[in-house]
Symmetry: D5
Subunit: 146 residues, 10 copies
């Protein structure tokens, strides 16, 4: 079973069980964004979490093998088209240079890791319209000289 079939199986099971990502994340003891990304095939899971996921969603254990496999990460569109994802791309375009300067001024020459990295989504209720809060947390990696 490859990651694509795994994903279809897991999303179908999630719909059948009417569980939200929060429900599943709570049941397996991980964060909702990470759990979703693992089910979408963008992260590999530990054996232990993979089995918990399969138990919670009541799918076969070969799905667990697929969850544990190391993914080849890819996305279809160099410039995303769906408006939700495009807005994130636009933020990178508009603020990328600014963020680089602000972060490097505080941390020195280096980058924020996208590997030693976590991300959370929160909802801020607001009478003028609820707000989405995305929190990206990545280790700062200084450039090495040699």
């Amino acid at each position: 079973m490859d990651k694509l079939e795994m994903r279809h199986t897991l999303l179908a099971a999630k719909a059948r069980k009417k569980m939200s990502w929060d429900d599943i994340a709570g049941a397996v003891g991980m964060s909702p964004v990470w759990v979703a990304s693992a089910c979408y095939g963008m992260n590999s899971s530990s054996v232990d979490v993979a089995h918990k996921l399969c138990d919670v969603l009541e799918v076969d254990s070969d799905v667990a093998t697929a969850l544990v496999a190391f993914p080849t990460k890819a996305w279809d569109e160099a410039i995303p088209q769906d408006p939700f994802i495009y807005r994130l791309y636009e933020v990178v375009g508009v603020y990328g240079e600014t963020l680089k300067d602000v972060v490097q001024e505080r941390f020195g020459d280096g980058i924020m890791s996208a590997i030693d990295f976590t991300m959370e989504v929160d909802k801020i209720e607001d009478p003028k319209g609820d707000r989405v809060l995305l929190t990206l947390n990545g280790k700062f990696l200084p450039y090495k000289s040699w």
Copy 2:
């Protein structure tokens, strides 16, 4: 004075005055990321803040006019190359679809605005390596049907 000349003038003044973005932001009463983006030419400033910026950095008042002008936002590379900015692009590619699902499950069909939007950078000190914390805060906009 166009936004490009304005940017060169402001960055040169910032270097000359040895002020950090935090210093400048504190002096004008705005956030460091927003102040930097306005000086980079990616956001327009109110007249009041523009004059404060020019006072703090000791530049001519025609810079203030350029700060107030409405920018045409653009970035050079559809796929960024600098490693700092590329990592953000990679996060959008790897997690875009996941975030869309997690957010829309909680908020309904819609997007996180990149216009009614703020962003903060924080430093989390950590003996295993400091961490960068980026916080994106955007109004949720539900799709309309008609």
Copy 3:
């Protein structure tokens, strides 16, 4: 049933029932452009409207589930090729910068939302050749500073 299968089912039913988009829109109490876009899979429908659509077009209720699902919006061609759609793209290219200036002069720095957005098509009969009238109506969103 995914959005693609849903679309094929709905367009086949529409042809079978010989109903126009105006007919269907009238029957479900929504606008023709929105109804067509929902059937094409570019917008999600409320549960109520989805069931009305299925009743009107006499298709199974699993089509309603697909109509309610939140779409991932995408289009095949970064630069459209069909002459009808290309002309719209050309209008954006030729008049985009002009519109930005005219709108921002009247409203301030910001954008016209493509999310809190409606669109209508009208026919203006004219002996020299009928005219198409497209009306785009989007909420103005001012940029935030912070």
Copy 4:
């Protein structure tokens, strides 16, 4: 004087005279969107209007020659980046196929002309946030068979 120099001259004169596009359009008896597009170099003007524009903005008559010249229309980015213009591009991507179907159902096989074409911008005041109304009006051109 080429269209680029003409544009810089006209925009500088407009700023100097503190006239809005509405002011200029009123003074020359044309529509604001068309006047702006002619000043941006995207449309050619009649000799008469060109001279009125030069009078109103108090610029030299060689600007009028440039206004009358037939432009080569071009835009920098196949996929626009400025958020204002991108949202229009997104509308074409999301609704292009839908519009083609709705319009062709009413008019037959053909296109809406982008040449025999006019466009207006209006502001709808609304306590929940003002709205931008764009009206595109193009002659319907039926495909010929031969």
Copy 5:
């Protein structure tokens, strides 16, 4: 039956009946280039011609329905690769700007329509090598000012 299946059916019937485009065009009373383009799925046919085409080529009447449907015109390659088609693309690249100037000098600012448009192919016999004569005939559309 979609345009692709229609095309395969019609081309197979044409081969089976050993008719040239000239034969078919003569039989249905239309021009060979238009008839071929309709069979390739790039133009819609009137009901009357569609039935004549189906009679001449002895195919089922559902092919006629497909011939009458309004096509979404598309081509695979932004820059064509087949040498026959590339040479036409090259002519547009090499002579496009020249043609624009020569035509607009004679007709004013505007375009040659590709919608209100016909095209013919002729063979000029020549002992030094026969020549292909392509004749493009499009309505001149002047730009509108408003």
Copy 6:
């Protein structure tokens, strides 16, 4: 003097002398499209014609040297943007495959040369709107087998 400078010189002289391409073509005994393409730098001229062109337009003889030089043909945009030129590109896209089939059915496997090639523009007056007639005339080159 390179082709670009030559072009600017010749177009300025043409404007100064208020001659049309037809006037110039008549004066040098060549066709208007070819004369325009040579002045735009897309074709090389014989020495004799080059000197006639310089005499007619009253420019220096180093322009003649530039006219005689062999050009490197290039165009800016793989997909043209100006509506006049785009319509020609669209014709190639929509009818390219059709033309290949119609021509090869009559001539055999081969191409229409874009090198041993001429082109004319004519105006057909028509009360419903004048029409542009483009005539492309290229030698048919059969593929060789060996």
Copy 7:
């Protein structure tokens, strides 16, 4: 049978019969490069040669029909990736401008035809490493003026 199926059939037959391109070329009286290109679907064959090819490779006569059909030439990658083919592309990039100048200096303004064209491959044995000799032979086509 289309060119793709033809190609698979012919390459499978070639493997089964353990014949080299030289063997096949010798048997049908044509050159190995041309024979291979016809079997790959990039050239059309005369009826006579097509039948010889089918006899030699012992395949059905419908393969001959496919060999005689006029191909639509296409290649997958604008910039080739396989190292063998990329090196040829690199030669065109590195030496293209040089070759144009050397050839046009000797022949006048024009091109080397890729249609009235033949190509041979030879092996030069060399103790320091054998060498590949590619010989391209194309008719010179002078540009026409008119």
Copy 8:
């Protein structure tokens, strides 16, 4: 002096001295294609040949330094536009796969080097039209396994 300035200097000197590439190549004892490519900045020259070139063309000795410098080879267009160079690109596209198969059948798995490589141009006079003969000669490099 960089390669670009060197090239302009050498081509101007060549024009001034009215020497052909054959003349220059004869004078310095190298091949015309290589000499042209070195003058165009696509190959580095030995010190000895560089000085001979400067003597023959009567240019300053700093041109010799530029001729000896190791070039960074680049070309402007991934897909060439000039018809002369495009035809070579087309040959690679049409015959690339065929050549790979014919060469590898004779030599084994490997490539023809574009580095240990020479190229010649010859003219074959022919009453039906002269022919260009391009000869590419590259060392065969077998893939290594390890």
Copy 9:
């Protein structure tokens, strides 16, 4: 059996036999990177090694035929997306020009062959985090002049 089916067969057999690339490489007497690349279809194997590979992994001998076949090397993405592979691409972008200068200063004008080439992967254990050591070893090929 083509290279794609071969690859699936070999990777499935490797998983079934729970052998690492090091295990397989040891068993067939070749290097792990080369063995993996041959199994992925990016290199051809000698007949002898192919049979050893099939024995070790217990697959049919037609897999051996596919291993011996000469591959057409290709990769999906001009700019890789998987973070592991992108980092290598980034190294080429950031250090390419530097490496060219350092290597050519030591070796003269030429390249490092990617054909007469080997590569090894090693693991350096380190308490601060293990390190990956990639060793690329390619024959230096000097440019030829002629």
Copy 10:
């Protein structure tokens, strides 16, 4: 002084002083590849090393400021064209997937850092042709789950 001017200054000084990268690296106590990359503007230097570099190359101290500045890394061509750099790109394309599998099998799911990274160039003398040895050494970064 920006990185580009710094680079020109440093490369000119290097040529004037006739020092190799090895000489400079030895004088400042860093590795040749890193020193070259810092002078090319692709890495920032410590203040101490920057001053040593300026002393060794006898350039003004404002060059040191530019050496210390944090670079925005960028490269011109998504697909490199110079044969030296292209071969490295080709290695990433041909072996990227293989390396990912071999490395992740040994280290687990993660990447080789291009930030906590060093690189060396060595020359292996060989009578059959010297060989280039590139050694890439990057910290392994395991993906985090959360």
